[in-house]
Every structure is written in structure tokens, then in C-alpha cells.
């Protein structure tokens, strides 16, 4: 039993040291909530930012903790409950906007204080190498003829990939409700369906498929960015005749009820973090696109994205 206790104590210590929520923290301690399990995009962004915050100001205490669940809406609920707390940031992004609609969340982003948009990643539309589709027009034609025959592989229902599928269908003149979307638990699983030739097209973040496009196992039909990207040889969706742009963006929000001074000091802190060399390095390393934006412009962006996502999710019949 003593062995067991020692073991448990050691593990507890290990877990605590690795960033589980703890009650400590003076006035200068900043907490960053990653509303997802360790390992995902929000978690990576949070932990990268933690390092950059520390490099920008060595005296600053920063702590990341995870609140996983329900597309981030569990974390959002907790954040909203921290009204007036000026030492807390939550990493969030497009997926959360969709999850709020889909899960009929009791709280929304209107009850938070938008701080900054940090990064964007674009989506890529691919087909297996032996697919009859050579261009987006081939896809659009097949889609119009019989949407059920075009099986689309992507990530979770209502996520970025699904939203892009809906927007593309709409642009091609197909009812978004009729998209035959096959949800997978991640880019890897979707990749398997594509390589095995089980589905017609696949949609995911560029990073998930890029290597296989380069090796020739997949062919890129288009990317969801406004302009062509250096990292991959593919036309934009717009060039291909589908007037759609979509970025999987990520940023920070703080609890609601902050006065202007608290809001300003958080914004300054994040700006300093963004200007650090550590952040710039990490952005390049992860293949993110730096789209730093604070204050009113970010608040407006958040509103317009909410409206757009709400619209397409309703059109796809994803809200019961």
C-alpha cells in the first residue's frame, strides 16, 4: 500500500507540474485556458503562447490549463462565469463559433471580451490520385447531377471541414443540406478513407494532407485562402469558380465585464507576446499564418464570422 501511495503522490505531483488547474497565482499571474484536451490546435496555440509570453517578459507568471469538452463550449461556460477576471485568457476559434450554434450553448461569445485574433490556417480540398475529378468544375458538375454520389470526407460534423463543404456546395448551386458528408474523428481517419478510394473528395487543414499531395497520392483541387499559397501548388477555390474563402482562425478572448483599463492591459500584454521572436519562430514552424488583430476590428470580425457560421449551419440542417 505504501508503494501505491508513493506512486499516487508522484503522479499527482507530475500532473500538477504539467499544468493542471491550481489555485495559486498572485496579481501578475496570467492564466490561459485551452478549452480542449492536450494535443489539439487550441492546446498547441496556448502552450506556444505560454512560452512566448515568458520570453517577452521573464517576470510574468503564465499557466496553461485544459478544460476539454463539447467543441470548447464547456470552457466557454467556465470563462463566462469568471466575469471581471482580468488575468484570464481563453484560446478559441472558428470551431467554437460553430459548436455554440450546434450545441445550443447557454452562453455565447457575446458574454466575453474579444482580445486578439492570432493565427489562421487554410483548408485544402483533395481527391485521390486516380479520381476522375481534375478541377473544381468537374466536382461542381458531379455535385449538381447527384449530390448523394459525391461522398465528402472530413473531420467532425459541424467543424471547419463540414462548414467549408456546405459553403462550397452553396457556391456550386447545390443545397447544402444534400451534401453527403462523412464525418471522421480526425484528418488521419479521413486520409485513410481517401487513400483507400472509399470517398470522392476530402477536406481538411492543409497540414494534414500536404505531404500526401507532394508525394502524389492525393491531388489538390483547391485551397480556401484568398490568394495562392507558397507552401502548396494549388489554385484557390475562387480561381476554380467557387466563390468561397474560409480560414480556421484562432485567437484569445477574456471574460466579460472588464473595464477599459483591464482590457487595455491584456491587449498590451498579448501584443508584446505577438512581437516576440519566440512567437514568430513558432508561427513559422507550425505553418500558421500570422493575422494579428486586436480591439474593435477583431470584435467586428467575431460578429461577422458568428453570423456567417450560424447561417450555413442552419442551411445544412445541423441545428435541430
Amino acid at each position: 500500500m505504501r508503494r501505491t501511495l508513493i506512486l499516487a503522490a508522484a503522479l499527482l505531483a507530475a500532473v500538477a507540474a504539467c499544468g493542471a488547474p491550481s489555485s495559486g497565482g498572485g496579481t501578475s499571474a496570467l492564466k490561459i485556458m485551452a478549452p480542449a484536451a492536450p494535443g489539439g490546435g487550441w492546446d498547441t496555440t496556448s502552450r506556444t503562447a505560454e512560452q512566448a509570453f515568458k520570453s517577452a517578459d521573464p517576470n510574468l507568471k503564465v499557466e496553461v490549463y485544459n478544460v476539454p469538452g463539447a467543441g470548447g463550449t464547456i470552457g466557454l461556460t467556465q470563462l463566462v462565469g469568471e466575469k471581471g477576471n482580468g488575468n484570464l485568457l481563453m484560446t478559441m476559434g472558428l470551431v467554437m463559433v460553430g459548436a455554440i450554434e450546434q450545441n445550443k450553448s447557454q452562453v455565447t461569445l457575446a458574454e466575453t471580451t474579444p482580445i486578439a485574433k492570432l493565427t489562421e490556417e487554410y483548408e485544402i480540398v483533395v481527391v485521390p490520385a486516380n479520381s476522375p475529378f481534375q478541377t473544381l468544375q468537374d466536382l461542381a458538375t458531379a455535385w449538381k447531377t447527384d449530390p448523394a454520389k459525391v461522398a465528402v470526407a472530413g473531420g467532425s460534423a459541424g467543424g471547419t471541414d463540414h462548414i467549408l463543404a456546405g459553403l462550397m456546395a452553396k457556391a456550386a448551386g447545390v443545397d447544402p443540406k444534400l451534401v453527403n458528408y462523412i464525418a471522421h474523428s480526425g484528418g488521419g481517419e479521413a486520409l485513410n478513407s481517401l487513400l483507400g478510394g472509399k470517398v470522392a473528395i476530402g477536406i481538411s487543414g492543409i497540414g494534414e494532407f500536404a505531404e500526401h499531395v507532394k508525394s502524389g497520392k492525393l491531388r489538390a483541387l483547391g485551397v480556401s485562402s484568398p490568394d495562392r499559397l507558397e507552401s502548396i501548388d494549388a489554385p484557390t477555390l475562387k480561381e476554380g469558380g467557387l466563390d468561397v474563402e474560409l480560414a480556421n482562425w484562432r485567437g484569445f478572448v477574456a471574460p466579460g465585464g472588464l473595464d477599459d483599463a483591464a482590457k487595455q492591459s491584456l491587449t498590451d500584454l498579448v501584443t508584446k507576446m505577438h512581437d516576440s521572436a519566440a512567437w514568430k519562430d513558432a508561427v513559422a514552424k507550425n505553418g500558421w499564418i500570422d493575422v494579428f488583430q486586436t480591439g474593435q476590428p477583431f470584435a467586428d470580425y467575431l460578429n461577422s464570422e458568428s453570423a456567417r457560421v450560424k447561417g450555413i449551419i442552419a442551411e445544412m440542417g445541423l441545428v435541430s
Binding site: M1, R3, T4, L5, L7, A8, L11, L12, V15, C18, A20, P21, A37, P38, G39, D43, T44, R47, Q51, Y65, N66, V67, P68, G69, A70, G71, T73, I74, T77, Q102, N103, Q106, D146, A148, A151, S156, A157, G158, H162, N180, I182, A183, G186, G188, L191, N192, S193, L195, G196, K198, V199, G207, A210, E211, H212, S215, K217, K285, L318, S320
Partner: protein, 499 residues
């Protein structure tokens, strides 16, 4: 020849003192997190990722691989001793393993698990070296209709573990299927059976169910009977495996390896299904002898299977960049953190890293054996702790592990509710295994069936036109028909004798 040279270079990488130390840290940490329910290798690697940023990639991966293998082994210890599986892949081990422990054969159960894991891990790693490209082509050819057929096969194969009473077995299976339905439906994004509680939207974690039904249910049951007569005295037994234990173990080890490796490589296979299949294969081959009372075959086979599947998982990860388990997905993220993209080019561009990691798997495996074999008799003495203390400890352990999973109090409430269900199931003689099997196989069968039908645009014939699916479904039909045919044949024989 070329690969052999590269593998030898890999051993040179793995055998540097620093990397040996990383491997040791990895397997030790892995064993520890495997023991604690809730914290698994995936979470451990994820939390270590930011810390290892400044460690050279080869060393970091050597450590991560150690954690992965160690976790697969550590889960079995609590399964066997306390009927408390630390990981979902060691649940089946609890069935026979805990019975063995109660008969005073805990040390043998732990030893067959340790040696079986070593044998399976070593053979599977060797297969990883030679057979990776072949296995990958096979794994990719699996479509949703094939996975559905596979789930059907698994359901039929494990029907033998349902219980002696079919009704009770089906009732337990039903409980598992219902728990599996809770959460957001993956295909449509709609919530099912969540009672408006947002924390239930992601479903109930398999680990919470396993710990609730097995561990908590056990604690409550023991507590309720504590004052009923004298507690049974657990005999001490011999410390090491005898000749007959070896004779009965080596075949299940090999069969478990053969099942586990290909399933690990399948993107939808996972570590649980091969353990179910291995258990039912061993039970059938043993013709029921001792099964249900602590048969060593029922520990040796599944333990080999779950370790072999861990090596199998590395095949699609390294050759295609395709993660097939939660831990593999985190390992993929780790590769990307170092600016490496696993896939066809990885073997050409970073041979030192890949072969160093493969070599370290062999080293880690040997370390695990050395670490765990002498500990088996020591661990076995845990059972001599007075039961009130022991079970209070389990209670604490279980709650701690489950809370660590998501730091959510809702999980704790769910855990205690499941504990009550587990208690009731024990009280009324419902077997636990079918509930867990339903929980794991049910959602898989559902999602793959719906995917297959959606891709086929509603045409149900897609389910049988794929050759793999056709073979698997035929096998299931044969398993179902076999007892019937046997009965008819024996009746004919009797009639023939009478005339």
C-alpha cells in the same frame, strides 16, 4: 540487408547512455501511468511535449515509445490484482487475471503478462521492420463496410464471454450499448441521451465506465459483504511460473501477437478488439477448461495482443503519417513539432531517427521485462493488505484517476452512478464484460454501418460486395452455425446408433 544495416545503426543510436536513460525514464513513466486508471500514455505524451522541446528528437521519441509500451504493460497490473483495469485494453485481462489472483496465482498471472508482453512486443517490432509496407496496403484497403463486418465478427466471437445465462448476458450488453449512445452523434452532430448536461456531449469515456463498473462496483460489493462471515483468505502460492504455466502460456502469446499486430495497424482496429478476440479464441481452444476460474491462457493471450497492437499502430504512423490510436495521434503531433512529417519520405529523410526509435522499442521491451518480472511477487503481496484499507485505497485511486482525465466533477458523479450500477449487476449476477464490449463495439458498428450506407448512397448491397466484408461475415455465420451443426450431427449419430 539494407534495413538490417540501418537497424544496427539504430541500435548504436539507442545504446548511447543518454538515450538508454531516456528509454528507462519512458518505460518507468509509462508503467506508472498505465497503473493509474484515467491517465493514459496519450495524455502523458501530450503533457510532456512542451517540456521536451529542447531535447533532441531521437531521444524524445525513444522516451515516448517507452511510455507507449510501458502504458500497455502497466494497465494489466491493477487489472489482475484489484480487478481495476488501468486502460481499456486491459479490461479483458481482469476476467481471468483477477480470478487467478484470488486463487493465489497473482505472481503467475503478472509474470505471464510481463513475458507475454515482451514476446509479443519483440515479435511485433520485428514484424514492423520487415512487413510494414505489406501491412499498410492491407490496412488501407479496409473500408467502412469491412469495419462493420469486423464488428459483427467481434460480436459473434465474444458472444461466448456473454455468460452462461443468455438473458443476463444480453441485458448487460444492452447497458453497454446504451452508455455508448450518450453524446454527440458523429455523423449528424446531434446530441443523444445527454439530458441537457453539456459535459455529456462528448460521451462517457470508456475508462470512466471501466473503472466505475469494475473497480467501484467491486469496492461497494465487497463493502456490502464485509460483515457476512469470514473473509476468504487468499493463499500465497508459489512465486514464479511453473513448467505447466509455461506450457500453457507460450501458444496464447503467439496467437495473441498474431491477432494484435494487424489490428493495431488498422485505422479502426484499436487495442481492445484483438484482446476480445484473443480471449474468445483461447476460451474456445481450452474447451472451457478452468475458464471463469482463473485460466492462465486468458491472461497470456490478451496481454500479448494488446502489446502487439501497440507495435502495429506504428506501422501506418511511420509509413503513412496515419495515426490509428490516441497515442499515435499525439506522437504524430510530436513529429510535427520537430518539423518532421511521418510518411513515405520519413524513412528516406530521417533514417537515423526512425531506426533509432525502432531499435529503442526492442531495448524498451527488454527493460520492461527486467523492471516488471522481479516485481511480480512483490506486487502480488498487495493482496495481503487488510481489505478495508485496500478497498479504500482503490476508491481513492479510481476517483483520482477519473478526475485527472478531464478535471470535471461531472465525471466523478458519472463514476459513482456507474459504480452503483456495477454493484447492482454483481448483486443480481449480471456479467460485466458484455457491457464493456457493447460500449466499445456498439458505437463502432453503428458509425461504420452508417458511413458505408452513406457512401453507397443508401444501397445496402455495399455491405456484402466487398471481398473482405464478405469473408468476415461468412466467418461470423460459421461461428453462429457451428453449435447448431454440431448438435444436428450428434443427434444423427445417436439415431444411427439406435437403429
Amino acid at each position: 540487408m539494407d534495413s538490417l544495416q540501418l537497424l544496427l545503426d539504430g541500435f548504436a543510436t539507442a545504446f548511447t547512455p543518454v538515450n538508454l536513460l531516456y528509454a528507462l525514464v519512458g518505460v518507468t513513466l509509462g508503467t506508472l501511468v498505465g497503473v493509474l486508471p484515467g491517465i493514459g500514455p496519450a495524455m502523458t505524451v501530450a503533457l510532456l511535449l512542451p517540456i521536451t522541446f529542447n531535447v533532441p528528437p531521437a531521444s524524445a521519441f525513444i522516451m515516448f515509445a517507452g511510455i507507449y509500451y510501458g502504458g500497455m504493460y502497466g494497465g494489466s497490473t491493477t487489472s489482475i490484482l484489484l480487478n481495476t483495469p488501468g486502460e481499456s485494453s486491459s479490461m479483458i485481462t481482469a476476467l481471468e487475471g483477477n480470478k487467478m489472483a484470488r486463487r493465489g496465482r497473482a505472481a503467475q498471472a503478472l509474470a505471464t503478462a510481463a513475458i507475454g508482453s515482451f514476446v509479443a512486443g519483440t515479435i511485433a517490432t520485428a514484424l514492423l521492420v520487415v512487413a510494414a509496407p505489406l501491412v499498410v496496403d492491407f490496412a488501407i484497403s479496409f473500408g467502412p463496410e469491412d469495419y462493420f463486418a469486423l464488428a459483427i465478427l467481434a460480436f459473434t466471437a465474444v458472444s461466448s464471454v456473454l455468460s452462461r445465462s443468455v438473458v443476463r448476458g444480453l441485458a448487460s450488453l444492452g447497458i453497454g450499448l446504451v452508455i455508448g449512445l450518450i453524446g454527440i452523434d458523429q455523423q449528424t452532430g446531434q446530441a443523444r441521451l445527454t439530458l441537457g448536461i453539456p459535459q455529456l456531449l462528448d460521451g462517457i469515456d470508456v475508462v470512466v465506465v471501466a473503472v466505475g463498473l469494475f473497480a467501484l462496483g467491486e469496492v461497494l460489493y465487497v463493502a456490502s459483504r464485509l460483515r457476512h462471515g469470514h473473509p476468504e483468505v487468499i493463499p500465497v502460492g508459489r512465486a514464479f511460473m511453473g513448467r505447466s504455466d509455461w506450457a500453457r502460456s507460450w501458444k496464447p502469446w503467439l496467437r495473441g501477437t498474431a491477432l494484435g499486430f494487424p489490428f493495431g495497424a488498422l485505422p479502426g482496429g484499436g487495442a481492445e478488439i484483438p484482446t476480445f478476440l484473443s480471449y474468445s479464441v483461447e476460451k474456445r481452444l481450452a474447451k472451457g477448461r478452468e475458464f471463469g476460474e482463473g485460466a492462465i491462457e486468458g491472461v497470456a493471450g490478451p496481454e500479448a495482443a494488446n502489446n502487439a497492437s501497440a507495435a502495429g499502430t506504428l506501422v501506418p504512423l511511420l509509413t503513412l503519417g496515419l495515426p490509428t490510436s490516441a497515442t499515435a495521434a499525439i506522437l504524430l503531433a510530436a513529429f510535427q513539432q520537430y518539423g518532421l512529417q511521418p510518411g513515405p519520405q520519413l524513412f528516406d529523410h530521417n533514417p537515423a531517427l526512425v531506426w533509432g526509435m525502432i531499435a529503442s522499442l526492442f531495448v524498451g521491451n527488454a527493460m520492461l521485462l527486467v523492471l516488471n518480472l522481479p516485481l511480480a511477487p512483490v506486487w502480488a503481496r498487495v493482496l495481503h493488505i487488510p481489505r478495508p484499507y485496500l478497498y479504500a485505497g482503490i476508491l481513492l485511486f479510481a476517483a483520482l484517476g477519473v478526475y485527472a482525465l478531464n478535471a470535471s466533477w461531472v465525471d466523478l458523479v458519472v463514476l459513482y452512478l456507474l459504480g452503483l450500477i456495477g454493484f447492482a449487476m454483481r448483486r443480481f449476477g449480471l456479467p460485466l464484460a458484455p457491457a464493456v464490449i457493447g460500449l466499445i463495439l456498439g458505437p463502432m458498428a453503428e458509425i461504420q454501418l452508417r458511413r458505408a450506407l452513406a457512401i453507397g448512397a443508401g444501397d445496402a448491397t455495399v455491405l456484402v460486395t466487398s471481398p473482405i466484408a464478405a469473408i468476415l461475415l461468412t466467418l461470423s455465420a460459421l461461428i453462429l452455425a457451428a453449435p447448431l451443426v454440431r448438435r444436428i450431427l450428434s443427434r444423427r449419430k445417436r439415431e444411427a446408433l439406435r437403429t
